[in-house]
């Protein structure tokens, strides 16, 4: 590849209809150009499918298929089986959002991994159903405002925690599962390239900011996704056959406040007493993830016990208190 132009292939070419600052468009362009046009791409329903194939126009310069929302991993399984019996070794790449991965697509994805298909599944995780207008998904982090997890007198946004999908992937003992973001291109590149050298099912979760849904300036997508990593809320990790084999360590931990403030989806937490509780809880969650993956040399001064417990119970602090009637 030409080092001066990492996007030489233009697998996802210009002229598509993504919003400005779209993290998913950035991520898909990076991933597909690293893999190149000599591959077959399968897309779940979602923003990427809609903004790249609008009305008989296609931005894809590689073979590309979209069937329905939930079945991308199964369609890919069939494609892989067909190529195997036909003696072809074309790489196969699934692209899906968090809805098509964490929620409606999880069953087909689990089947694909369990059967051991030779497929890279890439999840562009923008943490909600952005294509349908920012509804909550199981990937939406705790306390986030979406159109179906609105804050109100009885609520501080989403009650539950973000589903720990990378651990679910790792629990399949799949050859390779990793997280990445658009902010760290060399890291993303290394992970895509590594994934492409491995046979069998592989999974990549790419945090992809959505300015529309996260309610931040469209110029801040890279900054925000970097802060997600630097605060410890989104650890960059690699898992091989269920074992943690790599983490991106942090030179220092930045307070979650720096990540949350630029995003309107957390705005409600900054002007109420209960919001303040959730802010402390989100900080504790970040601390717990840092401890879990060993992202810092020194222990932080935060007491992470409550956050660890919260992770284990799979629900957030505020709704627990509500259920006790206080």
């Amino acid at each position: 590849m030409d080092k001066r132009d990492p996007f030489r292939h233009n697998v996802l070419t210009s002229g598509h209809r993504a919003c400005s600052g779209c993290g998913e468009a950035m991520a898909a362009r990076m991933v597909s150009d690293l893999i190149g046009p000599d591959a077959i791409y399968i897309n779940a329903t979602g923003c990427l499918q809609v903004f790249t194939t609008h009305n008989q126009q296609s931005a894809w310069q590689a073979p590309w298929i979209h069937s329905v929302f939930a079945n991308a991993a199964a369609v890919a399984s069939g494609i892989e089986a067909a190529l195997r019996i036909r003696g072809k070794e074309t790489p196969i790449v699934v692209q899906a959002g968090d809805g098509g991965t964490f929620d409606i697509g999880l069953q087909c994805l689990s089947g694909m991994i369990e059967r051991g298909h030779d497929i890279l599944f890439v999840c562009y995780d923008n943490e909600a159903y952005m294509n349908t207008g920012v509804q909550r998904s199981s990937s939406t982090p705790h306390a986030v405002r979406t159109s179906t997890s609105p804050p109100g007198r009885l609520s501080q946004g989403k009650h539950q925690l973000k589903k720990d999908v990378i651990s679910i992937m790792a629990a399949h003992h799949m050859p390779y599962a990793a997280t990445a973001t658009v902010a760290y291109f060399p890291d993303l590149k290394a992970k895509v390239e590594k994934a492409m050298t491995i046979k069998g099912p592989r999974f990549l979760q790419v945090l992809s900011p959505c300015p529309l849904g996260w309610v931040h300036d469209s110029a801040l997508s890279v900054t925000v996704s970097r802060l997600a990593v630097e605060t410890g809320l989104f650890p960059l990790v690699e898992l091989e056959h269920g074992e943690l084999t790599g983490v991106m360590r942090l030179a220092e931990q930045r307070p979650v406040d720096e990540y949350l403030r630029p995003q309107g989806r957390f705005k409600h937490l900054f002007n109420s007493k209960n919001g303040a509780i959730e802010l402390r809880h989100l900080q504790a969650l970040a601390d717990a993830r840092i401890r879990r993956y060993g992202l810092l040399d020194a222990e932080t001064e935060w007491d992470t016990d409550r956050a660890m417990q919260s992770e284990r119970h799979g629900r957030g602090g505020y709704c627990e208190r509500r259920s006790h009637g206080s």
């Binding site: 591959a39 369609v75 069939g78 089986a81 195997r84 019996i85």
Partner: protein, 392 residues
């Protein structure tokens, strides 16, 4: 040479002879014997295919979708709840114009859950854009399967071979299996013009807006209309080569001079033919018609067979809840369009495996003759009560 084969075994052998390269399925009664046999063939090296154990029928349908798009002949089978779980993908396969072939081992739909045969499952997906061929015997299942791949691949339309659960899938009948060379001579090697291939990158399944969605649907509908001639031509070809017909679009039984005709689908024709024979022995001018091809709905072929008929009884093993008989409604519409005024009696029966015996069908003939069936929807009498034919 005839062999004694269970329907599932027979149709699985026919599938093997068609050389599918990818077989994907999820177990469900009464379909399971079909894929078990294919799994064994793959395990024994007798069928060079990838056998994929899907995580659900939704996954199975999606796997064969992908396999065909990637240039492989594929097969799946299901029934009942499994077919309904596939529904979203069935529509998608048809919309993408992928030549997938599957078997539906017809079974009732819950609730209440019931494993026995009727046609409510495949009838529920009648608008999905699949050709639906209903077979009447294990031999027809074999012959129709071989024809199905040729039809699907020539027209880029998916085909559902519908065979009655248990009544065929679990019943042994003498069957002639064609040789591999014969099937290879009839069915060309798999070819699909829009195969996913980096050498010729194509986008399949993109979005469309209000201004250009409808033409796709019109094209699908036109293709389905045009496939009637193909089904007849390929069946005629088959008859020339194998000496047997799969049944064309519709198949008549003792229609000469028939005044009253029963129209049915699938294995029901066996009991109906027996009833027709007995009625004929008593001098009644009755006949029968079997709808082999339900989608596309072969209006002209039906009308051609109904010339001179004065009364039609549509006996069907499915119901559109709140509307009644499905085939009956479509036939009435076709007759009116053709300005043919033949009364159509709609009788629904056999739901969830309830027997429709020749005695029951004779009773229906009698009711029709006595004009006791009103022209709205009615249900077949129950054969079991006190050993007599009872209503209800």
């Amino acid at each position: 040479m005839k062999q004694l084969l269970e329907g599932s075994q027979a149709v699985a052998e026919a599938v093997r002879l068609c050389r599918p390269q990818v077989v994907a399925a999820y177990p469900i009664t009464p379909q399971t014997h079909i894929i078990e046999r294919l799994a064994q063939h793959v395990a024994n090296g007798e069928l060079d295919a990838e056998f994929i154990n899907a995580e659900s029928e939704f996954g199975a349908a999606s796997i064969v979708l992908g396999a065909v798009a990637a240039g492989a002949r594929a097969f799946t089978a299901t029934a009942s709840q499994g077919l309904l779980l596939m529904t979203e993908v069935l529509y998608n396969i048809a919309g993408l114009r992928l030549p997938v072939v599957m078997v539906c081992a017809n079974r009732a739909i819950g609730a209440p859950i019931n494993i026995f045969s009727d046609h409510q499952d495949s009838m529920a997906v009648r608008d999905a854009g699949w050709i639906q061929l209903y077979v009447g015997s294990n031999q027809e299942a074999v012959d129709t399967m071989v024809q199905a791949y040729r039809i699907a691949e020539a027209c880029e339309l998916p085909v559902m071979v519908c065979m009655d659960g248990f009544l065929l899938t679990h019943t042994f009948e003498p069957v002639v299996l064609p040789s591999q060379a014969e099937v290879d001579g009839y069915l060309p090697a798999f070819q699909f013009a829009r195969t996913l291939d980096p050498a010729r990158p194509m986008t399949l399944g993109g979005a469309s807006e209000a201004d250009n969605y409808q033409p796709y649907r019109v094209a699908q509908h036109d293709a389905m209309e045009n496939v009637q001639a193909v089904i007849e031509a390929f069946d005629a070809d088959y008859e020339t080569q194998f000496g047997r017909t799969g049944g064309g679009l519709v198949q008549g039984y003792r229609l000469d001079g028939a005044i009253t005709v029963v129209l049915c689908m699938g294995t029901l024709m066996g009991a109906v033919a027996d009833a027709v024979d007995r009625q004929r022995d008593q001098g009644e001018a009755v006949g029968a018609l079997r709808l082999r091809c339900f989608r596309p709905f072969p209006v002209q072929a039906l009308l051609d067979h109904l010339k001179g008929v004065q009364r039609i009884i549509v006996l069907e093993k499915a119901i559109s809840i709140g509307a009644g008989g499905i085939v009956a409604a479509e036939l009435r519409a076709a007759l009116q369009q053709a300005e043919m005024t033949i009364p159509v009696e709609s009788v629904i029966g056999g739901l969830g495996g309830r027997d429709l015996t020749p005695a029951v069908i004779e009773a229906i003939f009698q009711q029709a003759t006595d004009e006791k069936i009103d022209t709205l929807n009615r249900f077949a009498p129950d054969h079991r009560v006190n050993g007599e034919v009872q209503h209800g």
